[in-house]
């Protein structure tokens, strides 16, 4: 089919070719050079911080996202539609604007008296901000479609609310929740714009991998990319792809099991 061919060509030029270039560059000096590049103290520390912060964000997002989705689906209150629309705001707001926003709130003249600039907590806050929509928007439609009668049946069989949530609702929203968590995590590990103004970019302290990569570019001239930047880029990419794929497989297993 012609459309498929043209579409594949487009994807190859826009997506595949650039990614292939990074992969090729990362292995320029062989696997040894690759390994050295991703295990320098600064790179290791940045990756560690990135992963820990992203994991925290994914977990917090899972809880708060499910809570918000629940409230938006099962609760009624004035202004609900406005709140519902607000959820997408972090998606619509440019990341650099999010960074500026956090700067005004937690910077030197913070109205709250909180000075979190150039600390690790601000990274988590920034990532929570930009990943807010993922879990909510994954879980919400599933919760809307969920069979209320199954919950009522469980209630007539004597199940408590906690049991109903654990045994009926959670399995229903599980696949969607997993894919939401996956999206949030993948977004968090690559995030750059929202942290760039607030994390201080202190190597081995508050530098995340995306900033480490950017730093490697700045130390070179005229946009020359070294193995260090390429190798760490590939690490970020691989982690994101693996997490997304793993959670997607888990989610599709879960939903298939559920459909049975």
């Amino acid at each position: 089919m012609l459309g498929l061919g043209v579409g594949s060509l487009w994807l190859s030029i826009i997506v595949l070719l650039p990614i292939a270039a990074v992969a090729a560059k990362s292995l320029d000096g062989g696997f040894g050079a690759f390994w050295d590049a991703v295990t320098t103290p600064a790179a290791r520390s940045a990756l560690g911080l990135t992963l820990v912060a992203s994991a925290i964000v994914a977990l917090v997002s899972a809880v708060t996202g499910t809570l918000i989705a629940w409230v938006l689906v099962r609760d009624e209150f004035p202004g609900k539609r406005l709140v519902n629309a607000l959820i997408d705001l972090p998606f619509a707001i440019p990341t650099i604007v999010a960074s500026i926003v956090l700067l005004t709130l937690y910077g030197s003249d913070s109205p709250l008296g909180l000075h979190l600039i150039a600390t690790r907590p601000i990274i988590v806050i920034a990532l929570l901000f930009v990943t807010l929509p993922f879990v909510v928007r994954s879980v919400q439609p599933v919760l809307m479609e969920a069979d209320r009668e199954a919950e009522q049946a469980a209630a007539t069989l004597g199940a408590s609310n906690l049991t109903i949530f654990r045994r009926i609702i959670l399995p229903t929203i599980g696949p969607a929740l997993l894919s939401g968590i996956g999206l949030a995590f993948a977004r968090a590990i690559g995030e750059y714009g929202s942290v760039v103004l607030v994390d201080g970019n202190i190597p081995q302290k508050t530098q995340v991998t995306s900033q480490y990569i950017q730093g490697r570019l700045e130390s070179n001239q005229d946009g020359v990319v070294d193995v260090g930047a390429a190798a760490n880029s590939i690490v970020l990419l691989l982690i994101a792809v693996v997490v997304l794929l793993a959670l997607r497989i888990a989610a599709s297993r879960g939903s298939r099991h559920h459909a049975r």
Partner: protein, 268 residues
């Protein structure tokens, strides 16, 4: 599951409080900071030559990205839904890949392909084509990060409407092209519009990838997001706030359109 009134109120309060702290307070404060010296200062700040140029460059880049991603996105969605070829899952992965790629990695990858030391660098330089540190590079970065939206919004709608309407049009004598324009396109219009708005919102806000392939010269190669950053770096905080607020206003408009379209989409 029936939740007691008290539990329901606590859950609601908890959710709203979280959103208030994470979203509302920060946005309120930036609005306050922006306008604390009056609206005229803000207007002056977003109408400087550099700001106006950044605005138009942003519009230019967004327009190119949206047009190309719409055309190829619809094409890909149709191909993915309607054809039974093997290897479709590889294409699915490629479509989703930009979701997994850091904007910084996008910048790095473009440098490696089109930069001076990149794969095509020498050839491009010989032919006097400048991609990196020029508008084409910024366009490529923006297209990369917005590839999935149109495809992912149009695909389920196409699946939902099925092939019956198109087959009916064929039995009534409509050619493929006529069927596309008169049946398929109208049927997917709200999903497509939603995908386009998502693309616009994401393209407007693109920063990481663009920042690596632009020299960010005021009045020349600055988009609005780059303008915010450069003003901040130059200690022009008020100017940075004003530009950020301008972007935020555009974001809110996009959000309103999104909400309206989402409702239309689910009504079809």
């Amino acid at each position: 599951m029936r939740v007691s009134r008290r539990a329901q109120l606590s859950l609601r309060t908890l959710a709203l409080a979280y959103l208030f702290v994470l979203l509302i307070i920060p946005l309120g404060i930036i609005l306050y900071r922006t306008f604390e010296h009056g609206a005229s200062a803000v207007i002056d700040s977003v109408t400087t030559p550099a700001a106006v140029s950044a605005f138009w460059l942003t519009i230019e880049i967004v327009t190119i990205a949206v047009v190309l991603n719409t055309v190829f996105g619809v094409l890909l969605a149709i191909a993915l839904v309607r054809s039974r070829v093997r290897g479709k899952s590889i294409i699915q992965v490629l479509v989703d890949l930009p979701f997994a790629v850091s904007p910084v990695v996008v910048g790095v990858s473009l440098l490696l392909v089109y930069g001076n030391a990149g794969w095509f660098g020498t050839w491009l330089a010989e032919h006097g084509i400048k991609v990196i540190f020029s508008v084409p590079g910024m366009v490529l970065a923006t297209i990369f990060v917005t590839v999935p939206f149109v495809v992912r919004e149009v695909e389920p709608v196409l699946r939902e409407i099925g092939t019956e309407q198109e087959e009916a049009a064929a039995t009534l004598g409509a050619s493929r092209w006529q069927t596309f324009w008169r049946i398929t396109l109208p049927a997917i219009r709200w999903g497509l519009a939603y995908g386009v708005i998502l693309t616009i919102a994401r393209a407007l806000g693109e920063y990481g990838g663009v920042s690596l392939v632009s020299q960010s010269k005021p009045g020349e190669s600055q988009t609005l997001t780059l303008l915010v950053k450069s003003r901040y770096d130059n200690l022009d905080e008020a100017g940075a706030y004003a530009a950020a607020t301008l972007l935020m206003v555009i974001a809110v408009v996009a959000l309103i359109i999104m909400t309206v379209l989402d409702r239309k989409k689910s009504n079809v």
